[in-house]
Point group: D5
Chain length 116, copies 10
């Protein structure tokens, strides 16, 4: 039960490349580990992008997010990492990722990064 | 009981073509099928447009949205399709369509497309 | 009990014509009839304007809105009509009217019109 | 356009008279007149009942509520009147009506009456 | 402009004395003075009662609440006082008054009293 | 794509039959047809039950609810029907079903039925 | 208990005049009288300003707002008056005042004025 | 600036000892220290009581709650301690205290204790 | 980084065993795996209990909940399992556990179990 | 238990200095003392910044905010002070701090300051 999915993002062709339109995805089930303590962190990810030639396939996105479950990542680094991976896979016209992490030490952290 | 309405959008003349004003319609009862699995998908559609010479008649819009009930459509494609059909029927000065689909695979999808 | 008030909008002089400031009025008790079916329609009206030399008197606005109670009007037309009447009476520097109608045929309609 | 519907409540046979179950109806479009001033009053009606042999037909309920539009009624009296009419038409096992009226004189009024 | 209304509560006959039903009134515009400091206090009053032979007339209730505007009263005492006055005027079958006062010294106070 | 799933509810053994505990399921994607007009109706179903020897399997519940998509049913009848089917399949210690239908004719309908 | 405080606004030196920063104050306990009827009006005031050399002292602001308690003022005029008094006392770099009055005649009024 | 107030609760005579009525106080500004780590903890306290012969004076309650600011207390113990102190000072007919502590270790804690 | 904590629940003595009072803990960061698919499931756990001689220590509760992260569990079984473990460790006077799982197959599941 | 932490802000290198992205931190547990009265003040701090070469370490931020606990500060001054300290430690590309203080004298205060 503990084997992890490969880290791949599948795509499908944008059905309307002639129009700039926005796709927004909300994934409230992201979890990874704190690289200092090894304890779990949790976040809701909100992705918004204008596709160029490719859209991200939902099931592969789910598996991709799952692949972080056993890895240690800092809040700031993992948000930029997920954005970079999605930009590399989709080459979108523009993309924004917001990661809302749960309270740690009495403080709630949100990281927002955009491309380009 | 299973015959579907014809896919037509009726219009009526814009009562105030001399003014740019906005009409917003919220239709929370949109459903079609997933083209991969055949299972039902559900969405709330939010339409906003500035009419030029024509406005969309509400009852025909309801029947038009109903006509997708037994067809398979991807989220991104059907949103652009509905926008295209409405633009073709109304030739609005500008129009935006937002489709908010229900959670699939733990992820909520929203697609927003505009004309022009 | 069924006599209707005359359709007049009373005004009073703007106490601060030297400053551009905004007055916002929310009237959740607007009702008229559907010109097709004769059945009642209901809306909340939200008015925002920057007065020039005149402000609208609240009681006369209430009576003015009441005067539509027994008349048939389409959503788009009545919103523009109320805006036109208020613009004619007040000659405001700018004015926006938003009319939020109740659900019909599973669809909620909002009309927003502005002057100039 | 000004003819009013007859005050009748149509019913249909309860499909499950062997079970005590509850039907709740929310009608936010009730309006009548103030018997003192002749000015319009507005309310949201919330009806809950356990049917015995009869259920109320939705369209006739809508027309019934519409029939109060041009009549003068006090808040307390009209709530009891609507409850009495529904009890007479349906003979329900139990029924509760809540009428939430809009602010008058800075005070919001809610009337709740039950049978038996 | 500073004369205060007499402290009287007008009533009208309960139109349905044969039924126990509840009338709920929400008055968010109550203000009196702090008897210690003379500074204004503000509260929202929520009244719920089952009328016996009399109901309270709304306008007189508004004037009655207004009559406290220039008087000094402690939170606990004024809530019981208003309840006592209403019980004396209406002789209701049961009555509850909730007074929600605004924050003082970082603490919000609510007083709830019932008859009988 | 138009073949419908068979109407079956699969179950699995209650893992804790020695304890009365409650399972609550919320399914916001129920749709059937109006038997009078053939037009689509939509509802959110809320199920709560105390299992005896059997629990309902989620995927089969989803397919079961889907099986109503092309059938005509009145609000009151279909709510009792779904409850009856679930009671027949699970023989629960107790069960309640609430069906919240979307606005029709300006009125929102909720039906709540329980076993036993 | 009825003596009113003098209408004065005390100030203290801005601790950071080298930076444009905003102070926002929300005062939900404003009341004055209607100049037509003498009856009380109530509002929540929301003030936002960028201080230059002076900030308003909170206690004196409370007393200043209290000083309107027994005076008659129209909604539009009193909002501009409070803004003028604050601008005269503080000479802020910019200031906005929003006054949200309670429902009168079924209509809610908000007045928003800014300097400069 | 660091001297702490004495831990005393002042009272005043209940103005209506002949009636069982409830006083509810919400104090969102409670803070003490964690006895293990010395770090600050924060809570909102909600007190509800039926006074017998005495009511708690608001300002002394504020000072009493302030007196915990530099002391170490476990969540469960301090809630019972505050309840005990208030019961000792007021001898109320009944009293409930709810303490809602802020998130620690990803877990939110609420403690609710009652007398008698 | 992948070693899991031992499954132990530490306790501390109830500071007020003479009083029945309730402790409520909300833990929104529970995750385990689906025993069928191996994919992650997520839930918010809400625990409420009346301690007898022992209270649960917060940090050990966090580690205990973390210990399920890599295990496969059905919704109904894991809720009863967590309740059983807590009852075994604390022997509380009464305890209720509510587990709110995230949407799967368009359906949201909540399981509520109590002891005794 | 009363020794205070040193006022230091620790940092770590920005993992993505090549991208302008925003980090938002919400700290609802800030408290200091009123310099006039010595009584406690409470605020929620909301920080948003675009890091250049350094990010603030969460635990040191928590300790830094804690260090104000026994000091007297005016609302306006302490907000600017915290912003200045964070700017000095991080040299961010831009930073905004919003401090929302609790009600004092019936008035809620929010201070918002930005760099540059």
């Amino acid at each position: 039960m503990t084997s992890r999915p490969a880290r791949t993002l599948e795509t499908f062709p944008n059905p309307n490349p002639g129009r700039d339109y926005e796709i927004r995805l909300e994934a409230p089930e992201f979890t990874c580990l704190c690289p200092k303590t090894g304890q779990p962190d949790f976040a809701t990810l909100r992705l918004a992008y204008v596709p160029d030639r490719l859209c991200v396939e939902l099931k592969s996105l789910k598996l991709y997010l799952w692949s972080f479950r056993d890895e240690g990542h800092f809040h700031e680094a993992v948000t930029n990492r997920v954005l970079d991976d999605l930009v590399a896979a989709l080459a979108p016209r523009r993309m924004t990722l917001v990661a809302e992490f749960y309270v740690r030490g009495g403080i709630r952290t949100v990281v927002e990064a955009s491309h380009p």
